[in-house]
């Protein structure tokens, strides 16, 4: 089996598992307990908080652990929703955000907030001119993802943050796809809030974090969840100690990949993959080819063929079609829609996201698999036409 869907989720790194094991087994204390077992668990959390903070160039007190990026995003928007409204009630997001941003802002819109979506170019990059126009003194929050999950395109986060800040608005970035893949620096990107997810960067599922500049003390809104007061009261509930420890370790090992970014073999592999794809399918499209992207993410389109059918015919290669979160529903990807793909075109688009374990053999093997499946699907559709 070849796994090429790393934007959807990743396997846990062996070091991460090793780090987590003792916390299932004998270091199982409740970190809120004041006894020795509890203190040992809270020490482990403190260390992991430092590891996560180090990778994002933040302070440990600025990291709030959640159950994942979806919860981090919801925490932010629920906080806004539950706080008494002021004149500043405009929320600006890009039109290619993840569902865990778009759904909460829809709720905000229902409750009287003015929600505006920034258009994106056909290369999948948020339009800065539109941002300058739409972000004004009435804007409360601007939220634009660091990189798109379906296209891998990097967004102009620094510039957007600056526009937001000159208008007195907060800036949030959903960095679930960025952290651990390319350098993410909360200082440099100048964001006030950022959402992270461990399972997109070789950490465990069920754990993520929200970065809050200045820490929980600076949280400007209501605290939407109630309970035992863990995570400075922002995210109550017994902390997922093994998950947090695993997330910390995943961040630590990611440092290595990021500092050696230029020598990262993934760039080379991606180049070969694109070249081979075009050799085999000269009619194919890859619109975001020249846009700065996450390493190893290729959204390739075949005209006049269904990517679903294609994927059904490649049993041993796992690739994605749009966001995994929207895979269940048979609806067109809102991301491809936003960059102007027609229905026919987006139907034929699949997403490859290479990972740390991808090698040259996998590329050669997969190209053959895709080719065979392509011919099978073409034959079937021709038969159906007859």
């Amino acid at each position: 089996m070849i796994y090429w869907d790393h934007n959807s989720t990743t396997p846990c790194a062996p070091e991460v598992i090793e780090a987590m094991k003792p916390y299932w087994d004998h270091e199982y204390g409740n970190p809120s307990s004041s006894h020795i077992m509890g203190r040992r668990a809270s020490t482990a959390i403190r260390k992991a908080r430092e590891q996560v903070a180090n990778l994002a160039n933040a302070l440990p007190s600025e990291i709030i652990f959640t159950s994942g990026a979806t919860e981090s995003n919801n925490l932010l928007f629920l906080g806004i929703l539950l706080t008494p409204k002021t004149d500043r009630n405009r929320i600006v997001v890009s039109s290619i955000e993840h569902k865990s941003i778009l759904e909460p802002v829809r709720l905000l819109a229902e409750h009287g907030f003015e929600v505006l979506k920034l258009p994106v170019s056909e290369c999948g990059v948020t339009d800065l001119n539109a941002a300058k126009e739409l972000i004004n003194g009435k804007t409360l929050l601007v939220s634009v993802q660091g990189a798109n999950n379906e296209l891998g395109t990097l967004q102009p986060v620094c510039q957007l943050a600056e526009i937001a800040h000159t208008n007195g608005a907060y800036f949030h970035t959903d960095a679930a796809q960025v952290l651990g893949k390319i350098s993410f620096n909360t200082e440099l990107f100048n964001c006030d809030f950022a959402s992270f997810s461990a399972h997109k960067m070789y950490g465990p599922k069920g754990i993520g974090a929200l970065f809050i500049r200045g820490g929980a003390k600076q949280w400007p809104w209501s605290r939407p969840f109630g309970g035992g007061g863990q995570e400075s009261g922002l995210r109550p509930g017994t902390q997922n100690v093994p998950g947090i420890v695993g997330f910390g370790m995943a961040c630590e090992i990611s440092q290595h990949y990021i500092t050696n970014q230029n020598n990262n073999p993934i760039h080379h592999l991606e180049k070969i993959l694109i070249q081979k794809l075009f050799e085999s399918f000269p009619t194919g499209h890859f619109v975001t080819r020249n846009t700065p992207r996450l390493p190893g993410v290729v959204a390739f389109s075949f005209p006049n063929i269904s990517a679903d059918l294609l994927m059904d015919n490649i049993k041993t290669l796992c690739i994605g079609k749009g966001s995994a979160c929207t895979n269940g529903a048979i609806s067109q990807s809102h991301v491809l829609n936003a960059i102007g793909y027609s229905h026919d075109f987006s139907r034929g688009t699949f997403r490859v996201s290479l990972g740390r374990e991808t090698d040259l053999n996998e590329i050669q093997e997969s190209i053959i698999l895709i080719q065979n499946a392509f011919h099978d699907v073409q034959r079937i559709s021709k038969q159906n036409e007859k």
């Binding site: 869907d5 087994d25 004998h26 199982y28 204390g29 599922k205 796992c318 895979n327």
Partner: protein, 392 residues
Amino acid sequence: MFGFVWLAKGLVFWFCARMIYADYNATTPCLPEAARLMTRMLCDDFGNPSNRASLFGRTARGAIDLGREQVARAVGAFADEVIFTSGATEACNMAIFGVMERLMRDRPRILTSAIEHPAVCMPAEACASAGAEWIEIPVDGQGRLDLAALSKELEHPTAMVCVMAANNETGVMQDLPAVVKLAHDAGALVFCDMTQLLGKVPFSVHTEQVDFACFSAHKCYGPKGIGALYKRRGLALSPLLRGGGQESGLRSGTENVPAIAAFGLVADLAAREVNARRAHLQKLTAQLESEVCRQIPGVVVQSAKAERIPGTSMFSCPGLRGKWLSQLSGIVASSGSACASMQEKPSHVLQSMGVDDETAAQSIRISLGMPSTTGEVRQISQALAKGAEKLR
């Protein structure tokens, strides 16, 4: 087989920690089988269950389906009535906010027992600041809910009644059928915190007829970071976390597949072994309480006259000078809920039962678990006696 596994677990624990753990109501160790299953799901079968087109995704989906069925069977629900959350706290928040949001206009009123966990009190308080009426129903000296007061408060249109099946600090169990009958007769929904129940006493959410219930894996030898909300079929609920629409749209976010699979495994085991576990805990609790009462004159076992879950004993010793808990050498125990222990406040549970602050601050909760042994219990009772002796 089951005895051997627990024995092995107990031995490992003994050599590793050399401390006697007696805080199983705060959290429990994860069963080795569950940890192994999680390791496999994290390394090999790691797919995203929403990617239904791939084998990886379908394997993950299968693991979730199995976990859901196992949890549902263990608590006596249908599989489609179980929603996985990140833990019991999230499930409490989700049920209370999800119900109150819908009923805020017609029945803006929420009743909770005075001894609920903060995960229930605080969302209720938030509803109160959003304009709902929040009333705490008092309990008697044994921690049992005052049903007359409940019935009186239910005379006004009420959205929901929140009552915990078994209290985490004293172990006191409530008369659920009576609470449910009163609430349903008044047209109110019942949310029941059943976190401490799983694997200690047999029960079924369908028999109890509660409308919502929450569970947590790490209280019954499963992993931290996973829990479940039971929602009776046909009831409406607004989601708390929105996004990709996982868990039938009620709880978005990539499912924590390894933890769900492990929760299924431990819930299944808990339900199947419940009678053996109950007997084990009952025997140890009886031993502990009789030894402690014999050795320490004047000690009180809280809620002793009420029905309790086995394994939980809250001891109070009035008249001690100094902190009793700090005198317990070699024993890992607590003075109450872990969630409240950071705040160093006397337990609100004991306060509600009419225990004075000084005595409440001098109380120790011993909660035993499956790895606990007769020998450990003897050491615990001796340590309690020695500690009390020093402070007299």
